[in-house]
């Protein structure tokens, strides 16, 4: 008779589908069958709908709001205005950035699309009729849309509520339209280096206003149960726990009587971090009417009113020796925050982590100042698929490198290589104070250049340029290079909080008697596949197959407190909490196994899914056996059950990095660009699920393509939004989107329990520079140094025209 073979460690490891496997997603069975549960799918008994009357103008006093005709309409139940919210103290609300924001227009409006009144009715149609019948009389005021004009003496005062307030949330204010000035680094030292430098490049780099535009817009269903005093809100919340705390603070409803549930979320990308007037109005309306209220914005509302991103004017100076060694970096940023400062940044960082703007380079001295100003535009300033202001910082330095290379007459690939932080310098403290955890930039860069055959690309480009110059072709080729260093995983409680809430995260695990498990986290997936990947982390830590682990997030009544999912913080923070909670489970399991095997704890060693007696491989207890024992054995000194919770305060941020290269062909006469190649090498530390990483990179690159090549929130001088629909706001289709080549190096984070750094946002951070640099590179031979994004066909055509290439 054949022996029944015991599976080897390797076979048992494979059976777990743990770290490093391209496990298929557990979410997909529901989503492919239309069985997702998004906010707009929620239907409660007696539920009414709410929607806004919005301001058609960008700046005006409100003379009168007449709601009588709307209220007279059958099907309309209530119309809320600021006057109704004022007695509750809810006509204004705090923003995440230490400012306050009108929930409903309080005497004036400050941007087009601003919420003026909230109409509640039987269904969407009745509400739309009601909205149309609310009459608002506006007395228009002069408009400021240019942030450089906001602080002029003649500028109209936007925020009359704080006009005389000399001290803001982030220091002194020098003008009623000035929000803050934030400085980082060594001003004098940097100026001295710049003054004495052999070469200085000086450029204004604009990162235009855009919008995260997830396919599902923002919305919620608020339900106040007056009998038990409990408020439940289902909403598109990227940070459900923080929303609960904020809701409690502003509504005075005790926190235990508020339950926030983030169901399935149809993409977030930063759009769903903030607290919006719609949430407040739905809650108030539910309290007033006693029935559940649904509010879901439409696409135009979404693009006009909730959460723009970027809008940074970054003036830079970078100095170097003649042979290309960078000696200093200076940056002054003018940040257009719109009508309220509603940025979603950690409290101490009013310009986010813009001070990662030294990028991947060893720059001895640097200085950064950011001026935030008010304009008549929508509030926001969210991190659109990036950690706080990191795309801006990365784009800035990657443009400055290109401009410096031009000035030096040096190949920018070589200039980068010459100035990268070296592998042996990690952990590396940057001139602006961050401690980079790990990286091998030279290895990644060389691998990337080799993979695309950089030398050959430059030769082909030169040949095409010859054809153009000799009149045989009207096309140019641009090669866009980009190396980025992100700073993600906010973050250490000592310097990262939002509204005073430390930015730790948490995981709670319960092992069932039969050896399967449930884990709950403080984060919330919006497509990242947490239910798949966090189970993989646990599978490797506790030896239970990923398929036997249920993951739950997003319900504040059941999940442990955490700060949510944005800024690529889920893997660095909650992923770490998951591993640490798993290790607690394992520590207890070891004690149980020792008891069962009648040996000392130290006589056991962990082997994939079991504890084995050292030197006696036939004596072991599997995790499954241990789980059952934890429920049925009276073990002296050990509590029954097998559960653990970990609240993880990360010791540092993580620093994912990568090398991206884009090859683009540009038609000089039409401005039409065609992407010929995109190569993206990412180093996100330990790779949990390569399939999901690759998918994240594809998606992030496509958002980067959109942003750099056409997507913007544009305003005219009267403050009218020019790009309020998907007709004008560029979202690439499958037709415009290229195929991407992905690659990786793997430099684990030394301080993260499993060495993972996070990846979801890297491709947006690195991608924008690669695409934009390609456009610049194509026109470099004709003297182009800087052209502002987005590089849509018209703007590219205009570059060619201005360079005299159409003659």
């Amino acid at each position: 008779m054949d022996d029944v073979k015991t599976p080897t460690s390797e076979e048992r490891k494979t059976a777990l589908s743990g770290l490093g496997t391209s496990r298929k997603r557990v979410e997909d069975a529901r989503f492919t069958q239309g069985k997702g549960n998004y906010v707009d799918d929620i239907k409660l008994k007696g539920m009414l709908f709410g929607d806004f009357v919005r301001s058609p103008v960008a700046h005006a006093k409100i003379k009168k709001i007449d709601t009588s005709a709307a209220l007279a309409l059958p099907g309309v139940h209530a119309v809320l205005t600021a006057a109704d919210l004022e007695p509750l103290g809810l006509h204004w609300m705090p923003t995440l950035a230490g400012d306050k924001q009108m929930v409903l227009a309080d005497g004036k409006v400050l941007f087009q699309g601003q919420e003026v009144a909230f109409v509640v009715g039987d269904d969407r149609y009745a509400v739309a009729d009601g909205v149309a019948l609310v009459e608002v009389e506006y007395d228009e005021l002069p408009v400021v849309t240019d942030p450089f004009k906001a602080e002029m003496e003649s500028a109209p005062i936007l925020r009359e509520d704080i006009a005389d307030q000399k001290e803001g949330a982030h220091g002194p204010r020098r003008h009623p339209n000035h929000i803050f000035t934030w400085e980082s680094g060594d001003k004098e030292g940097t100026n001295k280096v710049l003054d004495e430098a052999e070469v200085v490049a000086d450029e204004m780099v604009y990162y235009h206003r855009t919008h995260p535009c997830p396919l599902e817009t923002c919305g919620c269903v608020a339900s106040m149960d007056k009998i038990n005093g409990k408020l439940t809100v289902w909403g598109t919340f990227q940070a459900p726990h923080a929303v609960r705390t904020v809701a409690s603070l502003i509504s005075s409803i005790p926190e235990h009587n508020i339950r926030i549930i983030s169901p399935d979320i149809g993409g977030g990308f930063g759009n769903k971090v903030g607290v919006y007037p719609g949430y407040v109005c739905a809650i108030v309306a539910s309290i007033v009417t006693g029935v559940p209220i649904k509010w879901v914005e439409d696409r135009m509302d979404n693009l006009m009113a909730t959460a723009f991103a970027r809008d940074y004017w970054m003036h830079g100076k970078i100095s170097a020796t003649k042979d290309g060694k960078i000696t200093g970096l200076w940056c002054h940023t003018t940040a257009d925050h719109g009508a309220f400062d509603a940025c979603a940044d950690p409290t101490k960082f009013p310009a986010g982590f813009m001070n990662i703007c030294t990028g991947s380079y060893d720059i001895p001295v640097a200085y950064l100042a950011v001026d935030g100003v008010y304009t008549n535009k929508a509030p926001g300033g969210v991190a659109y698929r990036c950690s706080f202001r990191v795309t801006e910082a990365s784009y800035f330095i990657e443009r400055m490198i290109e401009v410096l290379a031009l000035k030096l007459g040096m190949d920018s690939a070589e200039l980068r290589s010459k100035n990268f932080i070296k592998k042996e310098q990690f952990p590396y403290t940057s001139a602006l104070g961050w401690e980079y955890d790990s990286g091998d930039y030279h290895k990644a860069w060389n691998k990337a250049l080799e993979a695309v055959n950089y030398k050959k690309l430059r030769e082909d480009q030169a040949k095409q340029l010859e054809l153009f110059r000799s009149g045989k072709s009207r096309k140019l080729i641009g090669i866009g290079l980009s190396h980025f260093t992100e700073i993600v995983g906010a973050g250490p409680v000592k310097n990262c909080d939002i509204l005073g809430l430390g930015m730790f995260d948490a995981c709670e695990i319960r092992i069932h008697p039969t050896g399967s498990a449930i884990a709950r986290l403080g984060t919330i997936s919006q497509g990242q596949g947490h239910a798949t990947t966090f189970a993989q982390i646990l599978a490797s830590e506790i030896g239970i197959p990923a398929s036997d682990i249920t993951l739950e997030e997003g319900d504040t009544d059941t999940a442990p407190y955490g700060l949510g999912t944005y800024g690529s913080r889920s893997t660095p923070v909650a992923g770490a909490a998951t591993a640490m909670a798993g290790r607690k489970i394992r520590a207890k399991a070891q004690m149980i196994a020792a008891y069962l095997l009648e040996v000392h704890d130290d006589d056991l060693e962990w082997d994939v899914d079991r504890f084995v007696v050292k030197g006696a491989p036939e004596k072991f207890k599997t995790m499954k056996e241990i789980a059952f024992a934890s429920y049925n054995q009276a073990i002296p000194g050990v509590e029954p059950g097998l559960e653990a919770v970990s609240y993880y305060d990360p010791p540092n941020m993580t620093y994912p990095n990568g090398a991206y290269i884009c090859v683009m062909e540009i038609d000089v006469d039409t401005g039409v660009s065609e992407i010929k190649k995109v190569y993206a090498l990412d180093d996100c530390g330990t790779r949990i699920n390569p399939m999901i990483i690759e998918g994240q990179v594809h998606g992030g690159l496509t958002e980067a393509l959109a942003i750099s090549m056409g997507q913007e929130i544009a305003y005219d001088e009267q403050g009218n939004v020019m790009t309020g629909t998907l007709m004008d706001f560029f979202v690439p289709t499958a037709w415009e989107t290229p195929n991407y080549e992905t690659d990786f190096t793997e430099t684990p984070s030394p301080h993260h329990p499993i060495g993972a750094k996070g990846v979801g946002e890297s491709p947006n951070v690195g991608g924008v520079s690669a695409f934009s640099n390609a456009v610049h590179d194509a026109f470099k031979p004709f003297g182009l140094t800087q052209a502002h994004m987005p590089h849509d066909h018209w703007r590219v055509w205009k570059i060619a025209k201005d360079l005299g290439l159409h003659n």
Binding site: A29, L215, E216, H698, A734
Partner: protein, 167 residues
């Protein structure tokens, strides 16, 4: 507003609805019949999240009034499979990571369902053009295209097997 009756067939089942004439098909499907697979992303025909099959054609149900579907045969994502047996396209989306947040997915799958009947043997370029009325913000389309190409190949194999069996 006065309501009117609309009779139609949804996923093989006869339905009669009493709706305001201005009711959009997507609201009729989602809110009256509780087929919430079709999603609303733009309400202006741009994003395709609401794509369903109507009389053998892909339509964006956010820009069709329910009364225009009088007598129509509608198929939504809920109608192409059973929990025990997914449609090949659904299987391939799972297999090739053709979805992330899942919001565009029902529309994308219903468009693919119709597209692969219009063109059972497409090139990658034809797939990209064929689904260009459906936006996805998460995947960058690469794995969606891969999923549809794989589904096309599987469906052709199945059709060949059937042909042979008949022969």
């Amino acid at each position: 507003m006065e309501k009117i009756n609309v009779s139609l067939k949804v996923n093989g089942k006869d339905e009669t609805l009493s709706v305001e004439p201005r009711t959009l098909l997507v609201h009729a499907l989602r809110e009256h019949l509780e087929y919430t697979g079709a999603h609303i992303g733009c309400s202006s025909s741009h994003c395709g999240a609401c794509t369903v099959d109507m009389n053998g054609k892909s339509v964006k149900s956010c820009t069709i009034f329910a009364p225009q579907a009088e007598g129509a045969d509608i198929l939504t994502v809920e109608g192409i499979s059973t929990p025990d047996k997914l449609h090949v396209i659904q299987e391939m989306f799972k297999e090739h990571h053709g979805l992330q947040c899942g919001y565009c997915t029902p529309g994308m799958i219903m468009r693919s369902y119709r597209f692969l009947q219009e063109n059972p043997n497409p090139t990658e370029e034809e797939v990209r053009f064929g689904i260009s009325g459906n936006l996805c913000r998460c995947t960058g389309y690469q794995n969606i295209v891969k999923s549809i190409m794989a589904a096309a190949s599987k469906l052709r194999e199945e059709a060949n097997v059937e042909k042979k069996e008949i022969a």
